[in-house]
């Protein structure tokens, strides 16, 4: 039996310190917390946790989780190890350069911490479907891009099925930028989600294109000139691959020539790579703080041994040490978790035009000039004129010809905060 095997590896006292927390409730633990063997068994033999990213944060997260007693850990990362990772991504060694991060990290942890199974996946989060994400109890993200976070967040929010409690997966998101960092707990559809806070993000540094073109003063201006203006001029539509050393080499050469012309110093190969890949200097110790905060939350949620973070923790180490925890509020007009959802039962012969009339007449949603689409096609667009014309023919079609039973439609209108989703069923 699998559990037997892992228990034999739990030599006496292995979890002595952690068990101090799990054996007895403290003054601030949840009154329903069941101290003792049950919770330990859940943590060590049942909890299945997914770590997204095996980079700076991911390495820390994997080590922390393994050492706090999670034993069934999965990790996804699409990157391979670069020599520049070795200063902080401590699960990797020079011999590992070029190998997949997920695989090497998993092997290292399993070798290092007996009894832990780490299952790696070398690839994109987008390769996996809902069935895959449904198998986990918790998801921890140590990602480096806004895009990946938005995708993961939207996937977990969309996965929540009111009929199935298991479909709600708490997402713990860590992020760092130099001395700054954040950790947050997102309970999809319950608390504010990642998309709700999108407008809080610092925008990436971008320089006015005319400065780049005419009056460069910084080495970054020269690099942007090479990548934004010269690359498309010379290569046309050919896509720049920021992971291709030949492409970076070309940009570096062009940027260096530009810098020489304007007597600007400081264009280097690594700065070129840093600017085009938008790399923010990563600091190992900031990663360690944030990863620890994330893993403590994972441990608390999995064991109920203490109250978990509600819901946003920020660390600002750029001006002394300042930290702040607050409850980020859910946004009604959030495109992912906000907005209304309506169940609509239509007669099979209801046309699109009639559906629009029904929507407009609905007192509780106050909608004017709605535009409709399904996840795959446009049904009726009020504007622009060309699309209105292209979709006008659908007005007299039956909704049942365009949307399958149980199918979804997105409604947008100026009068809605963001959008409204309809789930369509048909009366028989």
């Amino acid at each position: 039996m699998a559990t037997q095997v892992s228990e034999t590896q739990d030599w006496p006292g292995r979890y002595y310190h952690i068990d101090q927390v799990l054996n007895t409730p403290g003054p601030r633990t949840d009154p329903d917390f069941l101290a003792g063997d049950g919770v330990k068994n859940f943590l060590r033999n049942q909890a299945k946790i997914l770590v997204i990213g095996a980079g700076g944060l991911g390495c820390e997260i994997l080590a922390n989780l393994a050492l706090t007693g999670f034993k069934d850990i999965h990790v996804i990362d699409m990157d391979t190890i670069d020599i520049s990772n070795l200063n902080r991504q401590f699960l990797f060694r020079p011999k590992d350069v070029g190998k997949p991060k997920a695989t090497v990290a998993a092997e290292f942890i399993m070798k290092r911490v007996p009894g832990v199974t780490v299952t790696p996946y070398f690839g994109k989060i987008q390769d996996k479907d809902e069935d895959y994400y449904l198998q986990f109890n918790l998801v921890i993200c140590g990602l480096d891009s806004v895009e990946a976070r938005r995708w993961m967040n939207a996937t977990l929010v969309n996965m929540v099925d009111p009929e199935n409690p298991e479909s709600l997966k708490p997402m713990i998101d860590g992020g760092t930028e130099g001395f700054k960092g954040q950790a947050r707990v997102i309970l999809p559809t319950i608390t504010s989600c990642y998309e709700c806070s999108l407008d809080m993000l610092n925008k990436p540094t971008a320089f006015p294109i005319c400065t780049i073109a005419n009056t460069p003063r910084l080495p970054e201006h020269c690099i942007e000139w090479a990548s934004v203006l010269e690359w498309p001029r010379v290569y046309g539509d050919k896509k720049m691959d920021t992971d291709d050393p030949e492409h970076i080499g070309w940009l570096y050469k062009v940027a260096a020539a530009r810098a020489a012309e304007f007597k600007i110093e400081g264009v280097t190969w690594s700065l070129t790579q840093g600017v085009v890949k938008n790399i923010i200097p990563a600091i190992a110790s900031t990663n360690a703080i944030i990863a620890a905060a994330c893993c403590n939350e994972a441990f608390k949620i999995a064991t109920s041994s203490a109250a978990y973070l509600n819901n946003y923790f920020m660390l600002i180490g750029t001006d002394g040490v300042y930290s702040y925890t607050f409850e980020h509020e859910k946004r009604d007009d959030c495109p992912v978790c906000g907005g209304q959802a309506l169940e609509m039962t239509l007669k099979p012969e209801t046309t699109v035009e009639q559906l629009i009339e029904i929507l407009v007449e609905k007192q509780d949603i106050q909608i004017k000039k709605p535009s409709l689409s399904t996840p795959t096609k446009q049904i009726y667009f009020q504007a622009p004129p060309q699309l209105e014309k292209a979709t006008r023919g659908n007005l007299e079609k039956k909704v049942s010809e365009l949307v399958p039973p149980g199918g979804e439609m997105i409604v947008t209108a100026t009068t809605l905060p963001f959008s409204l989703s309809l789930r369509i069923s048909y009366a028989t």
């Binding site: 030599w11 006496p12 902080r88 401590f90 938005r150 925008k203 320089f207 005319c210």
Partner: protein, 239 residues
């Protein structure tokens, strides 16, 4: 100073039973090997009994999280899988309120992310011309701004010969609260008020600030498809 070799030795001792760890061929000892001391030392207490009841339920916290969900409005049903970017583009496009001087064209009406905008100014020095811009929106919209390029070679201080456009909200001042309408209005403004202070076509900007008459003449010539200083421009006159 910490002596890493001592740390390692003590770590081997602690993990004694872990043969896999002991055989690790680890050659580069760095401060990061401090990970080794993280395994708790053997404790004197006897190990807890093995025959405890097996719970199959997730933790109390997870159950409570779910009950929070149940208390919510039952209407909050499963959402469709339309991406946030897709909905946002639908919202932006269907709420476009363009003056008669601007129109959009979708080469593939099913692809909302790629289209062209035509601007036909009805006043100012570019009156009589028809200017085309390509819009390319990526899946990270509205975090990322749309990519906009002029598809013709035109004589304009803020548009270079490759079609790059110097408009602040397309780069440094882009914010997710802006939308396609703001970008389009911004582009149209460039034709009413070209800005010689932020030049992309330096020749044109210089002419505009030094000799406005000559600049206006050049604009007329360029719009007819003429050449200025060896550069031939596209005929953009409305036919």
């Amino acid at each position: 100073m910490l002596d890493a070799s001592i740390l390692k030795r003590s770590a081997w001792g602690i993990i004694g039973t872990a043969t896999a760890a002991a055989s690790e061929p680890d050659t580069d000892v760095t401060c990061l090997d401090l990970l080794y001391i993280a395994t708790p030392p053997a404790c004197p207490l006897t190990h807890l009994s093995h025959d405890y009841p097996r719970l199959s339920l997730p933790s109390i916290t997870m159950i409570k999280i779910w009950s929070m969900k149940k208390n919510e409005d039952a209407a909050a049903k499963k959402k469709p899988k339309t991406s946030a970017a897709q909905i946002r583009v639908q919202k932006d496009l269907t709420e476009l309120d363009l003056p008669s001087t601007m129109s959009t064209d979708f080469p593939d009406p099913n692809d909302l992310l790629n289209f062209t905008l035509t601007i036909t100014p009805d006043e100012g020095m570019y009156k009589g011309g028809s200017f085309k811009f390509s819009f390319a929106i990526n899946t990270n919209y509205p975090h990322d701004p749309p990519k906009v390029k002029c598809t013709q070679t035109i004589y304009h201080p803020n548009v270079d010969l490759e079609g790059n456009v110097c408009l602040n909200i397309l780069r440094e001042d882009w914010k997710p609260v802006l939308n396609l309408n703001s970008v389009m209005v911004g582009l149209q403004y460039l034709f009413l008020e070209p800005n010689a202070d932020d030049p992309l076509n330096k020749e044109a900007a210089l002419e505009m600030s030094k000799n406005r008459e000559q600049f206006l003449h050049n604009v007329k010539v360029s719009m007819r498809g003429g050449s200025i200083k060896g550069v031939s421009y596209d005929n953009v006159l409305v036919r």
